[in-house]
């Protein structure tokens, strides 16, 4: 006897088909590689992997992060230390001048100084609130009641910055490297002079009576007196100056003045830091290309320099973002910050910029040996203090 066929309801069939369609659709959406994480299917030899170079041995970290100062700028680009350890940050057509950090070791996790004033000109200091530690039981690294002192407006975007120290002919004078010229300001923020146009300026440093300006286009370091009168140049072989030529493939060409009276110049294409006397003679050079921690990675590094009060050199690299300390003679001493403590986007493995300007971290050192790292992606200044030995 034949089995009687069981009738299938049309409604059940439609629901089943719809459920299957939803399921297939969900699987299809789930399988979409929105972020390219599934890979291309190519073997490992086709992958560009820097992970092993981005990991740094914790024992090499000689500094630790003690505070972060948010910078209320869209595009902060340069940092410098002024008289009395004032902190100057340049960007967004302005210079913000912040009060010095407390003498003691700042241990707050975040501080929030605010610059005064908007618009052109200089706004006087006021009894602004200093930054306060946020969500931290630690003391504020900024003195209570003395936050930002002034804002200096600029006509165009600044790229570099330095301040004359107490030994400079004009202590406290501010030298701002714009794209192709230097602007100078008095310590009170009033505009002094606009120097003549040069090439592509990347860094400014000053000694007692000389101001040095690094020019990535001409691949030389120009020497001026404090009023902008040209005195000479370093990096072009002429007469008694037979030093090396600078290799500057991209606009990262930092300089810094040391307490030993030598001008440190990064020769980025050669992955070296070179030290010159004030009359332009090469005294010493050190550095080697390497992705390893003791060398300078990539094709143009170090991208920023600073000198500690004891003469040690602070270097900042782009590509694999890391800040390190070397002795004055170039012996690697330790790490200040690595990719873990800087903005992830600074590790630009997938970065696709359209122009030549990738803003790496800028570094400065105050008179107490604290290292200030300007993180342009996080838009903050990270303050590092040396570990107790």
């Amino acid at each position: 006897m034949a089995a009687q066929a069981k009738p299938v309801h049309l409604g059940v069939l439609i629901v089943a088909v719809v459920l299957v369609a939803i399921g297939v659709g969900a699987v299809a959406v789930w399988r979409i590689d929105w972020l390219g994480e599934h890979g291309s299917g190519l073997s490992d030899s086709f992958k560009y992997d820097l992970q092993k170079y981005q990991k740094i041995d914790p024992a090499l970290f000689h500094y630790h992060l003690v505070a972060e100062m948010p910078i209320d700028m869209r595009d902060p680009r340069a940092i410098a230390i002024g008289l009395g350890d004032q902190i100057l940050v340049a960007g967004d057509k302005a210079i913000y001048v912040y009060s010095p950090l407390l003498p003691g070791e700042g241990t707050g996790t975040s501080v929030s100084p605010r610059p005064l004033g908007e618009g052109p000109g200089v706004r006087a200091a006021g009894p602004t609130k200093a930054g306060r530690a946020v969500d931290s039981p630690h003391p504020n690294p900024l003195p209570e009641g003395e936050g930002t002192t002034k804002t200096i407006s600029l006509d165009s975007e600044p790229y570099s910055l330095t301040v004359g120290n107490a030994d400079h002919a004009f202590p406290g004078r501010i030298y701002v490297g714009m794209w192709d010229h230097v602007e100078t300001f008095a310590p009170d923020g009033s505009h002094l002079a606009t120097w003549s146009k040069l090439g592509i300026l990347t860094s400014v440093a000053c000694a007692d009576k000389v101001v040095f300006v690094a020019d990535a286009h001409a691949k030389v370091v120009w020497e001026f007196n404090p009023d902008g009168k040209p005195l000479g140049q370093i990096g072009r072989r002429s007469g008694s100056r037979q030093g090396p030529m600078f290799v500057v493939p991209s606009p990262y060409f930092p300089i810094a003045m040391g307490p030993d009276g030598l001008l440190r110049v990064s020769n980025p294409g050669a992955h070296r830091v070179e030290a010159f006397t004030l009359d332009g003679h090469l005294e010493l050079a050190w550095g080697k290309p390497s992705e390893r921690i003791e060398g300078f990675c990539g094709c143009c590094n170090p991208a920023h320099l600073a000198v500690l009060p004891d003469g040690r050199i602070v270097t900042a690299e782009k590509g694999i973002p890391r800040v390190k300390v070397y002795s004055a003679e170039g012996t690697f001493e330790g790490v200040v910050a690595g990719p873990e403590s800087l903005s992830p986007n600074l590790a630009a493995a997938t970065e696709t910029r359209e122009d030549l300007r990738l803003h790496p971290v800028s570094v400065a050192a105050d008179s107490r040996g604290r290292i200030l790292v300007l993180d342009p992606v996080a838009r903050c200044v990270k303050i590092f203090v040396e570990n107790q030995k």
């Binding site: 190519l42 560009y48 094709c299 143009c300 997938t350 970065e351 359209e354």
Partner: protein, 193 residues
């Protein structure tokens, strides 16, 4: 009187026919012009291209093209290049030596040629016969260098599929259609000349 009225009516009829013919002619000419214009617009060819400002060099271009050998190739913007001795688009992150030995090269297919210019500068050119568009050199150049290496669809190879299989697989939505008379999307500085 009746005869004159007939003549007037005939003249009106003639005028009407004449006017009708003129209007029809004008409409015809206008229609033809409009039709040709619309057809020209409709027929304007568009091609696929990679926007280098969005490309993340994920490697999908090498494996998702319908062609056995991808139509996507690395392009070099010489105006942006630093001509570095240690080119991070050419060399492994930690090369044994800065020479053209295969063990030092980043490109898995050896598609980049290194030529000495003057100390310490070198020129890097792409051998498109060997390039498969994996983008490994693009990542190396973007990470450390000036970003002068970038990927582009080469239109002498592209089949101009209506639905580009690489565009579907592109995780950064870098593919878009561009007019065939402007088929390449160059990086900003190069495009500015």
């Amino acid at each position: 009187m009746s005869h004159q009225q007939d003549i007037k009516r005939i003249m009106h009829r003639r005028a009407f026919v004449g006017n009708a013919l003129r209007v029809a002619g004008a409409l015809g000419i206008g229609g033809a012009v409009a039709g040709l214009t619309v057809r020209k617009g409709e027929g304007r060819p568009w091609v696929w291209q990679i926007d280098p400002s969005k490309c993340i060099a994920c490697g999908n271009c090498a494996t998702h093209c319908v062609l056995d050998e991808s139509a996507v190739k690395c392009t070099h913007s010489f105006g942006m290049c630093g001509y570095c001795d240690l080119c991070t688009g050419y060399f492994h992150p930690e090369p044994i030596a800065l020479n053209s030995g295969a063990e030092n090269q980043l490109c898995p297919t050896g598609a980049i040629r290194r030529t000495f210019v003057e100390d310490p500068y070198f020129e890097y050119t792409i051998d498109e016969r060997l390039c498969i568009g994996c983008g490994k050199c693009v990542k190396g150049c973007n990470t450390f260098g000036n970003g002068s290496l970038f990927l582009q669809v080469r239109h002498d190879r592209c089949q101009h599929c209506n639905e580009c299989s690489i565009a579907i697989a592109c995780p950064s939505q870098a593919y878009r259609r561009v007019p065939a008379d402007q088929p390449y999307l160059l990086k900003l500085r190069e495009a500015k000349g």
